[in-house]
């Protein structure tokens, strides 16, 4: 549905040129919810704005629903207003001089195709109902709460039933509780309509819970495109491992086939492809996979450590454990008996280790 090929964009900044996008490729299938995830300045918003036609790329092509909307080489540029898209902005961009109805109706009365009064009223009512704002049409836009503005922005973006919905960090201005609620609702609404979504966020929890696919970006490049499960379970490289979820890192080197030497000792873990003996690697393991026990237990790679801090979260507890001078984070059930200062046996299931080159 959206097809991005070798998209390139650079900006003039005070320090010279900044490459915001370095020839990225991305395919989003019809009805798919695709999340662009990355730190600030990684190029995810630029990608989205290029698809919207709000930025003009320096190179590459963008196709929407099989129609070429951008091609630097062929000098094709379809202006924003002629692209079949809906967009939810980070600030919501609810026009303060209009009421809720007028805001939602705007794409129908001023947009690509104009509709009769009756149709407009009909479509707006349906759109408002979809976001559970029915009956609030007369409300001035300035009287809305953040969550309501968010919903109006959604209704407005979807009122024309566009093929593509673009969202630029739409939940980042909401408080935590509302954000989680809206996350669930957002997925429900977009799935029920069947719209293709391109969604930008820097919040990895949001990305994992919303996306059919997550596209992790950094420094203008795409590092991994995969299902949320895969991104979490099998990060493609060190950056993704670091950015998505919590992770412990331990430097080491390849000792022999299937064994890696590090300060925790000699561990059984499969080195990355093409790793030669003696090559430096980084071992990574998620806190929830680090097993900690007060009493000796049997299994692979048991090591003695000491609990140096405990961060109680209710349903879980994050323990900081020092093992051979390495500080590791372990996620335990909230009711764990381990206390700060206590000695503990630490166990690393071999299949849970990720190994990265370098």
């Amino acid at each position: 549905m959206i097809s991005i090929r070798a998209l390139q964009k650079s900006f003039r900044a005070q320090q010279g040129r900044v490459d915001a996008l370095r020839a990225i490729d991305l395919e989003v299938a019809e009805g798919e919810f695709c999340v662009l995830l990355g730190p600030s300045g990684c190029g995810k918003t630029t990608t989205l704005r290029c698809v919207a036609g709000l930025e003009r790329p320096d190179g590459g092509e963008i196709e929407i629903a099989g129609k070429l909307v951008n091609s630097a080489a062929r000098r094709v540029y379809v202006p924003t207003e002629r692209r079949d898209i809906g967009m939810v902005f980070q600030s919501y961009a609810i026009w303060p001089h209009m009421n809720v109805f007028q805001n939602v109706a705007f794409p129908l009365t001023e947009g690509r195709t104009r509709f009769s009064k009756r149709e407009v009223a009909d479509k707006v009512a349906r759109a408002l109902k979809r976001v559970q704002l029915d009956g609030l049409g007369d409300r001035p836009a300035t009287d809305l709460s953040g969550g309501q503005q968010q919903r109006v922005a959604m209704a407005r973006a979807m009122v024309t039933e566009p093929k593509i919905l673009l969202m630029d960090e739409p939940l980042s201005n909401l408080d935590a509780r509302l954000r989680e609620q809206m996350r669930v609702e957002l997925r429900k609404i977009t799935k029920s309509v069947g719209v293709t979504v391109l969604y930008v966020t820097h919040d990895q929890a949001e990305a994992l819970s919303l996306g059919d696919r997550v596209c992790v970006m950094n420094a203008g490049e795409i590092l991994q495109i995969a299902s949320p499960h895969e991104v979490y379970e099998r990060p493609a490289n060190l950056f993704v491992a670091q950015f998505v979820g919590e992770m412990n890192f331990v430097p080491g080197k390849i000792a022999a086939q299937g064994r890696i030497e590090c300060s925790l000792g000699s561990l059984a873990a499969s080195p990355p492809n093409g790793g030669t003996v003696g090559a430096p690697v980084t071992l990574a393991i998620r806190p929830e996979h680090v097993r900690v026990a007060p009493a000796p237990s049997h299994g692979s790679a048991n090591t003695l450590g000491k609990v140096t801090s405990k961060n109680y979260l209710g349903d879980a507890a994050l323990l900081e454990i020092e093992v051979n001078g390495v500080c590791l984070l372990a996620k335990m059930p909230g009711d764990t008996d381990l206390r700060v200062g206590q000695n503990a046996l630490v166990e690393f299931p071999a299949q849970r280790w990720h190994v990265f080159v370098g």
């Binding site: 900044a13 919207a52 709000l54 026009w95 303060p96 001089h97 922005a153 960090e169 820097h202």
Partner: protein, 586 residues
């Protein structure tokens, strides 16, 4: 790893909508620029041109450096230059001594009657400077001044003790007149300072005074310096006080010298000399404007637009409230109450005299009743034409220019922004002289000389700088995404401008519209320079009456002028909520 993605948005901001707009916008911008170059550039070019010519405008004469030789080889020129600088420096000093405490009191303390004080300050701007000057002459002139007469009677003095006819006297009246403008500029700068910067200092355990010295002053310093430079630039160019006080006393500054060159009481006008004097003024103005822009830019680095209407707690004045009120009242008396009372008093008497039983018995409304006969209809009609056409044309141009400058990526938008700022740097009197020369020398191509339209033109050029500053700032406040949302919704650029941008900036635009209308209404320098028999406006009528020594008639007309201004301010304030900040940005 939860990092805000703000900086990304900032980078994106440099590439805005316009680069993506169709060629039409660029073409339109080019057309508008071409028009503005002619519109603003021609009068300035005329000033330069006339300085290289002798004789009457339109006479075919070779170009010459004669005017420059005459001007720069005369010691008197340098005397006048010194006068000008002394006058400007002392005016600005007087302004700041009053305006800085005033800003602090009104912005930071719990002084009562804030709204009333704001309104009075606004009215203070709208009282034409020449009327205030006339009022102070009626009080402090050695010959007819009421205060002098009273002091002489009371202390039995043979000589009048006070004399307004000096550079210091001129600086006093001018300095006082600058205060409201300076106040609004400084208040705007102060307001754009993030209060949390101050509060951060408090929470770090720094005292209020030290915070003021170490945080507030350094942060607002560029703004204060910018206001100083701006006032200095304006003080060099002002004409009203130098003309009314200076000319009779033969104290010349540059502006009055330029005026007398083109409008001599005897003999032929000498535009060549005016041009040569104007060249100094032009260079001074452009240099100061450059400095001003630099300072403003520097000041912007510190401003943080939080968008929250949140202010730090006001300092409770307690017993000092009365001292603060007294200070404000004393200033407002000098600025508004005393001049108005004097004019009112003089307007009700057959001739100027001290209050007495005899004076009270001779009070009359005669000068008000007879006013229409003296003034006629024409000046009123002409003034109305000014008040409506000047702000309308100015705001239409300003909105278009600002939209291109702020919202599009047209490659020459920076040039356009600078272009419309130029009138700030070119004194009004020079613009008017340039236009007069244009009208006289090229009347076949530019047949406006002697019409009210040439004044409309002069005023529009003069206030387009102000107009674009305000439209720029209201346009910046409209979040970029509001406009983008309109385009995503499928509306064309023109439709988005009409349906989204215009309604959002309407209040701000209307505010400046009214303000520019009022400034045009009270403006006299340019109207006077371009004056002929047929394009008389009310302000020039007052001037002519004063020249004829018709004190009661001048006063009566002045009272009406001030009351009308007050009425408009009151009405607008009633109609729009944010009028307290009317004219605040410039």
């Amino acid at each position: 790893m939860k990092i805000e993605s703000r900086s990304e948005a900032v980078i994106g901001f440099s590439e805005s909508l316009g680069r993506l707009l169709p060629q039409g916008v660029t073409l339109f911008a080019a057309g508008l620029s071409g028009f503005l170059v002619l519109f603003i550039g021609l009068p300035v070019a005329m000033v330069v041109l006339m300085s290289f010519r002798t004789g009457f405008p339109g006479e075919v004469v070779p170009y010459t450096l004669e005017n420059y030789a005459t001007v720069y080889l005369t010691p008197r020129t340098y005397e006048v230059l010194l006068n000008t600088i002394f006058f400007a420096v002392s005016s600005v000093a007087i302004t700041l001594v009053i305006a800085v405490p005033l800003v602090w009191i009104l912005m930071r303390t719990d002084i009562p009657f804030k709204k009333t004080i704001y309104v009075l300050l606004t009215i203070g701007i709208l009282i034409p400077v020449f009327l205030r000057t006339i009022a102070w002459i009626l009080l402090l002139s050695p010959r007819i001044g009421l205060v002098n007469k009273w002091l002489q009677d009371f202390f039995d003095l043979s000589e009048p003790p006070l004399n307004l006819y000096s550079l210091t006297g001129m600086a006093f009246v001018q300095g006082v007149s600058f205060v409201p403008g300076a106040f609004f500029m400084l208040a705007a700068a102060y307001r754009s300072m993030d209060p949390s910067l101050e509060e951060a200092a408090y929470t770090a355990g720094v005292s209020k005074l030290r915070t003021f010295l170490k945080i507030n002053i350094p942060i607002t310093f560029p703004a204060i310096a910018a206001v100083m430079v701006y006032l200095f630039m304006t003080a060099i160019a002002v004409f009203e006080v130098p003309a009314i006080v200076g000319l009779p006393a033969r104290i010349h500054v540059l502006s009055s010298l330029i005026f007398t060159s083109t409008t001599p009481s005897t003999g032929l006008p000498d535009y060549g000399m005016a041009g040569a004097y104007g060249a100094i003024m032009l260079i001074l103005g452009l240099t100061l404007a450059f400095l001003y822009v630099r300072l403003v830019k520097q000041g912007k680095k510190y401003t943080v637009i939080t968008g929250r209407g949140y202010r730090p707690r006001e300092i409770a004045l307690g017993r000092w409230k009365w001292a603060a009120l007294a200070f404000v009242f004393a200033y407002l008396s000098i600025e508004v109450f005393i001049p108005f009372s004097v004019l009112l008093w003089a307007s009700l008497l057959p001739y100027l005299q001290l209050p007495s039983a005899e004076a009270l018995s001779s009070l009359t409304l005669k000068h008000y009743i007879e006013m229409p006969n003296h003034v006629g209809v024409r000046p009123f009609v002409n003034t109305l034409i000014l008040m409506f056409s000047v702000p309308t044309i100015t705001m239409i141009l300003s909105v278009l220019v600002s939209w291109i400058v702020i919202r599009t990526q047209v490659s020459f938008r920076g040039f356009m922004d600078t272009l419309v700022f130029i009138p700030h740097a070119v004194p009004g009197i020079l613009m008017a002289v340039g236009l007069a020369y244009l009208g006289l020398a090229y009347r076949d191509y530019f047949p406006l000389y002697g019409t009210v339209l040439i004044i409309v033109l002069a005023h529009t050029i003069n206030w387009i700088a102000y107009g674009t500053r305000t439209t720029n700032s209201v346009m910046i406040q409209v979040h970029r995404e509001l406009e983008e949302a309109g385009r995503v919704a499928g509306a064309s650029s023109a439709r988005v401008l009409w349906k989204v941008v215009l309604p959002l900036i309407a209040v701000g635009v209307l505010n400046s519209w009214v303000w520019i209308g009022m400034l045009s209404y009270r403006e006299v320098t340019m109207a006077l320079t371009l004056l002929t028999r047929s394009n008389v406006v009310i302000s020039t009528v007052v001037w002519q009456f004063w020249g004829s020594g018709w004190v009661p008639q001048v006063s009566a007309l002045g009272v009406v002028l001030i009351l009308f201004a007050a009425l408009v301010v009151g009405a607008v304030r009633f109609a729009l909520s944010r009028v307290g900040e009317i004219g605040a940005a410039s």
